[in-house]
């Protein structure tokens, strides 16, 4: 049985008046009740996508359904909470008064304010003006505002941005807590560790296009799973030789050559390098980290189709 979708987009495209194509034919599906990580490098189109889903931007083409209705419509907004880019509040109002303003706009009873302040641990500072808040406090107030409506869908843009390690851990714990409450969470990030720790599924966006989608394990498997790491001297000569021998691209990371090849080829590759007068000081098989997968995905917009796995290729 198909799982209900909290967010669904078809060919969603946004080209700004400056001509920049920020989001390109995006087909996104976020399932109800999951924590979905929207991953991509800076400028990949994450925030633009979240703005489109929140109704802040009008799409150039394509459609989207968010919480069962068109983005930006009262029906959609009443079921979603969002914090897009930076938490923006009135500097002359206290944290509590800012939430009062948000509650009034959202037609939410003011009795909801204290529980959300407590949830994000801001009760003690709620009477202070927003302009005196630290980055972490601003971020937590943003999450509190997003939670005021008791939304089914929560959209968080870089929720740990600017937080110290303690704040980051607390935010992760909060996201997990929200998921346990049955909410759908769509969070964007460029922090791989954060996504790996909190998300059920991940969508990777690069240059406005969704280049991969699936669980972290599926993405690892799709990208070859394991790589061969070679430290050789001279490096450039080794890279040229391997590129002439292998169909796969050879990447250089931290002074090592990274090859997406069957580890069984390690011995023959080693022999060939040595026969060409290249010194090999290290040769080992690496399990791919999400970072490797991410770099591979965002550097190469189109990937070969996966042989297996639940994630779909775009």
């Amino acid at each position: 049985m198909a799982q209900a979708l909290a967010v669904e987009t078809h060919g969603l495209t946004k080209r700004y008046s400056t001509g920049v194509l920020a989001v390109n034919q995006l087909d996104l599906r976020v399932r109800t009740g999951e924590v979905y990580g929207f991953l991509g490098p800076n400028g990949a189109g994450k925030t633009t996508t979240l703005r489109l889903l929140s109704g802040l931007l009008h799409p150039t083409s394509g459609t989207a359904i968010v919480a069962g209705a068109a983005p930006g419509s009262p029906a959609s907004l009443s079921r979603m909470g969002a914090m897009v880019e930076t938490p923006a509040f009135y500097p002359y109002l206290s944290g509590r008064d800012n939430l009062r303003v948000v509650a009034r706009y959202a037609s939410v009873p003011s009795s909801r304010i204290e529980p959300v302040l407590k949830l994000v641990d801001l009760t003690d500072r709620a009477r202070h003006k927003f302009k005196t808040y630290s980055t972490g406090m601003k971020q937590r107030l943003g999450v509190a505002a997003a939670l005021l409506k008791g939304p089914d869908l929560l959209i968080l843009d870089e929720p740990t941005s600017g937080l110290d390690p303690q704040g980051t851990m607390e935010m992760r714990a909060l996201i997990k807590e929200l998921k346990q409450g049955g909410r759908t969470v769509l969070l964007s990030s460029h922090l791989l560790n954060e996504v790996e720790l909190t998300c059920d599924r991940v969508g990777v966006i690069a240059k406005g296009k969704l280049v991969a989608e699936g669980t972290v394990d599926e993405l690892r498997a799709r990208s070859g799973g394991r790589t061969l790491r070679i430290r050789a001297t001279p490096l450039e000569q080794a890279q040229r030789l391997l590129e002439s021998l292998l169909p796969e691209p050879v990447r250089v990371i931290d002074g090592s050559l990274i090859l997406n090849v069957d580890p069984a080829q390690a011995a023959s590759i080693n022999r060939r390098l040595v026969s060409e007068g290249i010194d090999v000081s290290e040769l080992r098989v690496d399990e791919q980290s999400l970072e490797d997968v991410f770099l591979q995905l965002t550097e190469t917009p189109t990937l070969p189709s996966p042989a297996s796995g639940g994630g779909e290729q775009r």
Binding site: K14, Y16, T18, V20, A22, T47, T48, R51, S54, G55, L56, L57, H58, G72, S73, P74, L77, S78, M80, G81, A82, V84, E85, T86, P87, A88, F89, Y90, P91, Y92, L93, D97, R100, V101, V102, R104, Y105, A106, S107, A145, K149
Partner: protein, 279 residues
Amino acid sequence: MIASFRAETLKSRKRWANWILFGILMLTLLLFGYILSYVILKHPPRNFESPVPASVLIREVFPENLLANVLSPTSTIGAAIMIILGGLSTASEFGWLTVQTILIQKPGRAAVLLGKLANLAVITLLVSVVALGSAALTSYLLVTIDGSSSSWPPVSVLVKGFGALWLELAVWTAFGMFLGIAFRSTAAAIGGGLTYLFVLEALVGQLLRETAGIKEILRFLPGVNASAVNASFRLTFRSPNAGTQLVDATRGWITLMVYLVLFTILAIVIFQRRDVGGS
């Protein structure tokens, strides 16, 4: 819209800038328009020269001239303050990015802006009530202190005068609000509005007032039409500063109402269609 209106009232009430603007308006009206005028005209300097004697001019601050005296600064300092108020109410939302916080709550864009409009309409109404009420009280106190006699304008004229005051303040507020949405910058909205008011309408308008062609254009400007409405509430004596109006009062009323509707519709259309955020 009601939800948005309730949120706007809370924001406006807690914003110091609004109270400061209100204070400046009241100070200008009561101190310069009444108290200082009374003191100077009661004890005119030796070199005081005027085609109308000070003993007659002083009646400007008495109840019989309440409407003319209150409406007089509406086209200048009143207009400037309301442009700033309107500009701040919308442009600040873009400056602080709070516009996106608002727009991801429940109401749609039109409801958000209509709530803001309703709030500004109530503010201008309250400003009009307080301005007219405090001017009336000050006027009564001054005529009592002076020991002179004066009569209030008829109720129908008072109501009409109050309507004119509210309409003019509302037009300038809507102008500021529209500029705030169009420019998305507080500095540009306020700077643009004040430049228009004091340079284009006041300075250039006065200098080129009798120039053919320009005169026709001036007839359509809000400040010129507001002046025509104000001039219909005459002083009880012939003021040496009274000039001829480019349009009659009826046309002034209609033009101001058209401007109020126009600025409102333009603000809503731009706000509805425009992207929030991004490049």
